[in-house]
């Protein structure tokens, strides 16, 4: 009997109370076999929690739930497990347990949370993607919330780094997690040795719903990829729908799991600012990507800067701050481009420009500019972000 699972899943008892109970009784099994009398005498629990504990003892459905958990290859990481992220332990209100599909970030891995607006601009999307990619190339774990906009861009950027490094990670880890879910579940017994783990291109999503619920549903593909190269994490039990109140709590885990939080684009009153607040309370570094003062979408980020957040003006410097050495300085030689290519590249920007604008600004003819754009796209210097709209896709860091 997996009493660990039973206790973690018992509803109605707060995380703090669970920690206290476990501290006193030592083992979950003891709690399961407490008699009604004994429970009634537990003064440290609220009357409601006592009721809940008794109800949980009577409830037989948890065995079934545990089976689903095993079948889905979800692992449960509790407060006292070795895998439980050290970074979370120092929080004021750490989650008692985490459901993980895929992996948690290894304890020693540097992690950065990238957060921002769902309805973001292309500038924000490009920035998030580029920053995430650079971080992931250097083995930094990218954490976000799998929402639309900045979140998705951050995850995608990190995944792209994995593609580039060609790490066989994806296949290797998929086989592992589906092979023996039982082992994954009882991870705290055999734990210790984390498997050979390539941290390049790893990205983690913390959800505001159960880890088996893909929310938003449109990100199904992203979700699947992330399970293979990183993990999907949540404190909500399996099957839990995305509930409003879970999201602010989810934000504290995002910041808690990270060494630094980067706000890419946020409006005046944005959920991302809540994450930034959590990060400050938890003593994490808060960075913001500056925007133009005319962009409403950058208001939140710029406001954070005015409040003393760090400016993320260069990924290289950011990596230095994190204590990660930039390995291969994959220097992009603007000089290696031909004259026309350089011309077009210099006109490109992080805000998308229509082909029409590029034609006017460069003065090239139709065929010429298409040729150059095609070449730049091939080199990875430009990207057609919408139909006929192009952006620069390399940062000179």
């Amino acid at each position: 009997m997996d009493y660990r699972f039973w206790f973690a899943n018992a509803p109605g008892i707060s995380d703090a109370e669970k920690r206290k109970l476990l501290h006193i009784f030592g083992r979950e099994e003891e709690l399961f076999s407490l008699s009604e009398n004994q429970v009634e005498k537990l003064e440290l629990l609220s009357p409601r929690a006592r009721e809940a504990l008794l109800a949980a003892q009577r409830d037989k459905s948890w065995q079934g739930k545990r089976k689903t958990l095993l079948e889905q290859g979800v692992s449960l990481v509790c407060w006292r497990d070795k895998e439980y992220p050290e970074k979370l332990k120092n929080l004021y209100d750490p989650p008692y347990c985490l459901y993980v599909k895929g992996k948690l970030p290894p304890q020693e891995q540097k992690t950065v949370a990238l957060v921002g607006a769902r309805s973001c601009s292309d500038y924000g999307r490009a920035a998030a993607e580029t920053i995430a990619r650079e971080l992931a190339v250097h083995g930094v774990g990218v954490i976000s919330g799998m929402a639309y906009g900045i979140d998705a861009a951050a995850h995608q950027g990190a995944l792209r780094a994995a593609e580039r490094s060609g790490s066989p990670l994806g296949i290797f880890r998929a086989a592992e997690s589906s092979g023996s879910p039982r082992e994954a579940l009882s991870g705290h017994d055999n734990g210790g040795e984390s498997p050979v783990f390539d941290t390049i291109g790893s990205t983690y999503a913390v959800l505001g719903c159960g880890v088996d619920v893909c929310y938003p549903a449109a990100h199904r593909r992203l979700y699947e990829q992330m399970i293979r190269t990183g993990g999907v994490i949540s404190e909500a039990p399996l099957g839990c729908p995305p509930l409003r109140h879970l999201f602010p709590r989810r934000n504290r885990i995002i910041s808690g799991l990270s060494d630094a939080v980067v706000v890419v684009e946020a409006r005046k009153r944005s959920g991302s600012l809540i994450t930034a607040d959590c990060a400050l309370e938890q003593g994490k570094l808060v960075y913001a990507v500056p925007g133009r003062i005319s962009d409403e979408l950058s208001y939140g980020a710029n406001w954070l800067l005015s409040q003393g957040a760090f400016v993320l003006y260069s990924v290289r410097e950011f990596l230095k701050d994190l204590g990660v050495e930039k390995t291969e300085p994959e220097k992009f030689m603007e000089n290696s481009l031909e004259k026309n290519e350089r011309l077009v590249y210099s006109v490109l920007d992080f805000t998308p420009k229509h082909l029409e604008t590029l034609l006017v600004e460069t003065g090239l003819d139709f065929d010429g500019i298409l040729k150059v754009l095609y070449r730049l796209t091939e080199l990875g210097c430009a990207k057609e972000i919408h139909q006929n709209y192009y952006i620069k896709s390399k940062v000179d860091s």
Binding site: R118, S119, C120, S121, D122, Y148, G149, A218, S294, D295, E296, L297, P352, H354, L355, E356, T357, L359, V360, F366, D367, L370, K371, Y374, I385, H386, Q387, N388, Y389
Partner: protein, 508 residues
Amino acid sequence: MYSVIATAAVHGIAGMIVKVETDVTNGMPEFEMVGILSSEVKEARARIRAAIHNTGFLLPPKKVTVNLGPADVRKSGTGFDLPIALSVLAAYGLLESEACAGTLFTGEIGLSGRLRPVRGILPMVLTARDHGYTHVVIPKENEAEACMVKGMNIHPAKTLWEVISWLKGERTLEPGPINIEETGSPQEEPVDFSRINGQRVLRRACEVAASGMHNLLMVGPPGAGKTMVARALPGILPKLTEEERMELARIYSVSGRFEERRSNLYARPFRSPHYSVTATALVGGGRVAQPGEISLAHKGILFLDELTEYQRPVLEQLRQPLEERKVRLARVSGTYCYPADCMLVGAMNPCGCGYYPDKNKCACTPGDIRRHLRKVSRPLLDRMDMSVEVPRVKMSELTGSGENESSQAIRSRVEKAVELQERRYGQENFRYNSRIPADKIDTYCPMEPGARKQIARAYEQLNLSARAYHRLIRVARTIADLSESDLISESHMREALLYRTMDEAVWR
């Protein structure tokens, strides 16, 4: 006594010879009409009786039986009035039956005996010619339409009396001097491309679309000039061929809109139904089947402005005709087939407010945008050969000095490309690049190895469907034709990729 008079009915856009037989005998006075008649044909009875009376004939009460044969085809329309009246008169012995032989009659009659115009004159006259008739008597108002058919003696008449006296040899019925090109209400001239500033990408896309009759989708913020460009499009399309012109005239004749086209018989039609259009009006239909907008746009442009505002079921109706290039309407009375070989041009905003991807102006959430785009279904989108994003025009371009290319200059290039296609597809049953069947693409679209590599890469990266892949090659073929090259080169393919339809990721 017995008499028989020839007339014609319209089925789809084809004509069909109908014989009106009348028998007059003694017996209970009655006027019976048979031959599966719709109500407007049955009502002819009352019109004819009054008209004959008012023309000055007295019909003694007798048993009159009128049969419209072939008897197993449903007859509708008002063109039977005149032949029935003549047939009755002949059966009463008031007319020489022989005088009517070899002549086809059609026309509606008012109570006073005045002839009124009817729909579908053109297919009727054509059928008459095909069946060896040499003379046709028609209402005066239909004269211009009938005169389009060469080698027929057209006799326009104003009243029943005129027809009778012509049959008696007392007068002649000759068409007035008609210059089809000059009469009729002047049609709206298409906007000239020289009036469109900036928008070089869109201009070029239009040129390519016009050259290969590719369907075109324009996506852009309000006021970017999408509608204006669409209105300029007919001006750069090649002139109609004689065959196409005749086919179009038939469609317009059948739907009773010949006057609309009369002034501009050589121009390609441009139809832009408002988005409140119903499915019947768009593809055709009705109890008595009528061609819809898509058929009226045959060999021309069907422009759907604000594509997202159309009712989705209405738009979905377009799928099959766009593929088959004709509309088949099955009714109890038979199956009607109307040609519908048009170039579909759509215009829409990228999101509800219209400004996406300019996030400073657009406050639509990703969900809003998806909901907006989803109003146009994927399958319909799959039938758009080309798609362009139209940006807002900059002030400097708007006021810039107008040395833009004129429609005339663009059309000369388009015509050259069309000529090339005509030569290439001489033996085939299609004439434009956009109509190349998938199995003939390899034959007609040879590519440079570089271009082949490019499209192979795009196929993987953009996650193209097989249909989209073929579409890209067809568009590249047209671009190559515009530069008069037999081989599709890398630069042609690059340009074709520019006009690919929106990515799967954006549009789901």
